[in-house]
């Protein structure tokens, strides 16, 4: 199999990899905001499903994808808000409330789908936009600069999130609240409010992640169409040590390996495909195991904040 890495294959891997990475990026970066402020939300997958449904449904009914996207954002935001109420105000155990939210989102999205639509339908999603000049670069122009807006958006989100987290007072507050909420509190920062904002923002981005499937990449809605992507997105946050750039690395690794394994199958490389399918998962563990890094986990992750608990 010496001819595996030919130019078309590499280009194909890049193209598919970028598309596969798109929903993960939105969801994982959203989750990174929440986690950096100390809240982990295991309900991402449920929010993605709700986002996927509402984006699709509204997009289809209005005939305007932007309304669909807006609806997905709004629904994601509301679900994030729900998570915030439960985990921040009511101080519920975050792991369990996240799982509750996941089940709720999984169920409700299917329920709404069943009640509003007669079956799976497809729409025409966001169309590829070729970026002037860059899009004309031979070979690379096609695979890098001829995607639809939501794909570009996912990658632009990475520097934007980095900027917010590391260059703005708001980002500083987020990180402080996640590392030492008591300290932030004594400086008059409203810990709960920051967490509300990040968890809702995380929900909104998870909503977009879902919409990226239903109105930009696959252009239809089907029950449980994320099939656990939200959980992988959470794993990517850990993989990326809570930094947008790290998450980008993780999402690309995961997606490129996934694209690669499909290519291996297409090219007829002779080994059981099950092991090919395992590759991205195994690689992700392996990559973490061999890269020695300082634990960057926010100290207060998962701990509800209560004033006076010193």
């Amino acid at each position: 199999m010496s001819n595996v890495f030919t130019i078309p294959v590499v280009l194909g891997i890049i193209y598919s990899g970028l598309r596969l990475a798109t929903p993960y990026l939105y969801a994982a970066i959203g989750e990174a905001f929440a986690q950096n402020s100390g809240v982990y939300n295991l309900g991402v997958d449920g929010i993605m499903l709700m986002g996927a449904f509402s984006g699709f449904y509204v997009g289809m009914k209005t005939g305007n994808l932007w309304w669909g996207l807006l609806a997905a954002m709004g629904v994601g935001l509301l679900m994030g808000l729900l998570m915030a109420v439960v985990s921040v105000t009511l101080k519920a155990e975050q792991g369990i409330s996240g799982i509750g939210l996941y089940m709720f989102g999984l169920g409700l999205s299917s329920l709404l789908f069943k009640k509003t639509m007669s079956g799976v339908e497809s729409i025409s999603g966001f169309q590829p936009v070729r970026i002037p000049l860059l899009g004309n670069i031979p070979y690379l122009g096609d695979v890098l600069f001829n995607h639809n807006l939501l794909v570009y958006g996912a990658f632009l989100l990475v520097p934007l999130a980095s900027f917010i987290l590391y260059k703005t007072p708001f980002g500083l507050m987020i990180r402080a609240v996640g590392q030492n909420p008591q300290a932030a509190d004594t400086l008059g920062i409203n810990v709960d409010r920051i967490r509300y904002i990040t968890v809702s923002l995380g929900g909104m981005l998870a909503g977009i992640a879902g919409a990226s499937l239903s109105i930009s990449l696959i252009n239809l809605f089907q029950e449980n169409m994320t099939s656990g992507m939200g959980f992988i997105a959470i794993a990517l946050v850990y993989f990326g040590s809570w930094r947008p750039l790290g998450i980008l690395g993780g999402a690309l690794l995961f997606s490129f390996v996934n694209a690669l394994q499909l290519w291996l199958q297409v090219l007829g490389v002779n080994f059981p495909y099950d092991f090919a399918v395992m590759l991205p998962y195994a690689m992700t563990i392996l990559a973490l195991a061999i890269s020695v890094r300082r634990a960057a986990m926010p100290d207060a992750l998962g701990k509800p904040f209560e004033r006076g608990e010193f």
Binding site: S16, S110, S122, L213, W263, Q265
Partner: protein, 316 residues
């Protein structure tokens, strides 16, 4: 068999009660929807809910839940209880003897448990390789690039037999054709299925097919990239009317009607149905909007005939 003709003069007859337990959803555009819609169709033919009542339990992928549902329907007096999932077999073998007056149907399977002395179970099984062979033939002949892509979920069940038939048919129709097969390892991973289709297309495939509810992802990609699609299990034309060439459709109506008739005649089970092209359980549905060149269509008809006659064995 013909549908039971209702006796017009008699007092209001109690409707026939049919229940079905399915592992996925009634809108999966594949395995479960096929059976559910067949029931609905039979219901309409029989004259609506007043003549035939349908109850269903979907997404019963946990076998104990399904077993409970099957038992529950039987004890509620449903006449026919369909266990639409091969994984339900073991449970069904235990439940069926307890309800000797209920008709059970189990598929996809070939065993009616007759050897265990059970008399009230029908079995049904699609010979998916037959339609696979036909569609493989058409795809191979229509392909400009000579490369076909198959998007499989997990290499098992009718997904496997379909793929094997498709591949074999293609290779027989056009020696030298390249059939690329991928599996995503999941019945539900739409996104990976889409990537699989992308990969096939990037590797030169212009004709795609696949199986399971997750192929909707692949169909979306095919539509975007202008590749042609061949459907399996369910007519997938509605999803992408411009690219679906033909679909192998599982048509359970005839076996449902036959089971109803047999029940009326006092036979509650013991027959193992096979859905084939010959008995109309499998049909090839063309999409008028994507015309197949006449010579290829002719070739397909020839192949269908060969399979029906037993001259062509759709599996190598």
């Amino acid at each position: 068999g013909p549908a039971a003709t209702p006796a017009p003069t008699q007092a209001p007859e109690k409707p026939l009660r049919v229940a079905i337990v399915m592992p996925s959803s009634i809108t999966d555009m594949a395995f479960s929807q096929g059976m559910y819609e067949a029931l609905v169709k039979v219901q309409q033919e029989m004259g609506g809910p007043s003549k035939m009542e349908i109850a269903y339990s979907e997404n019963m992928f946990k076998v104990p839940d399904a077993a409970a549902a099957i038992r529950d329907y039987a004890s509620q007096g449903y006449d026919i209880v369909i266990a639409h999932g091969s994984q339900y077999g073991t449970s069904l073998a235990q439940i069926a003897p307890e309800f000797p007056n209920t008709t059970f149907a189990w598929g996809t399977a070939t065993d009616t448990f007759a050897d265990q002395g059970i008399k009230n179970v029908f079995a049904y099984n699609p010979s998916a390789e037959q339609g696979g062979y036909v569609l493989g033939t058409i795809a191979a002949l229509m392909s400009k690039t000579g490369v076909l892509g198959v998007c499989g979920p997990v290499e098992a069940g009718d997904a496997k037999t379909y793929v094997d038939g498709f591949k074999y048919g293609a290779e027989q129709a056009r020696p030298g054709v390249k059939v690329q097969v991928t599996y995503t390892g999941s019945f539900s991973d739409v996104s990976l299925m889409a990537a699989a289709a992308e990969t096939h297309i990037a590797a030169g495939a212009d004709m795609l097919t696949g199986s399971s509810q997750s192929v909707v992802g692949a169909i979306g990609v095919a539509k975007e990239k202008g590749a042609k699609w061949f459907g399996q299990q369910w007519d997938q034309t509605s999803l992408a009317p411009d690219i679906v060439v033909a679909s192998q459709v599982y048509d359970y109506t005839s076996i449902i009607k036959d089971m109803i008739a047999k029940r009326k005649a006092g036979t509650l089970g013991g027959v193992a149905y096979t859905l084939t092209l010959a008995n109309g359980g499998l049909t090839i549905k063309y999409n008028d909007r994507v015309p197949v060149p006449p010579e290829i269509k002719a070739k397909a008809d020839e192949v269908i005939k060969g399979i029906i006659d037993g001259k062509i064995n759709p599996l190598p």
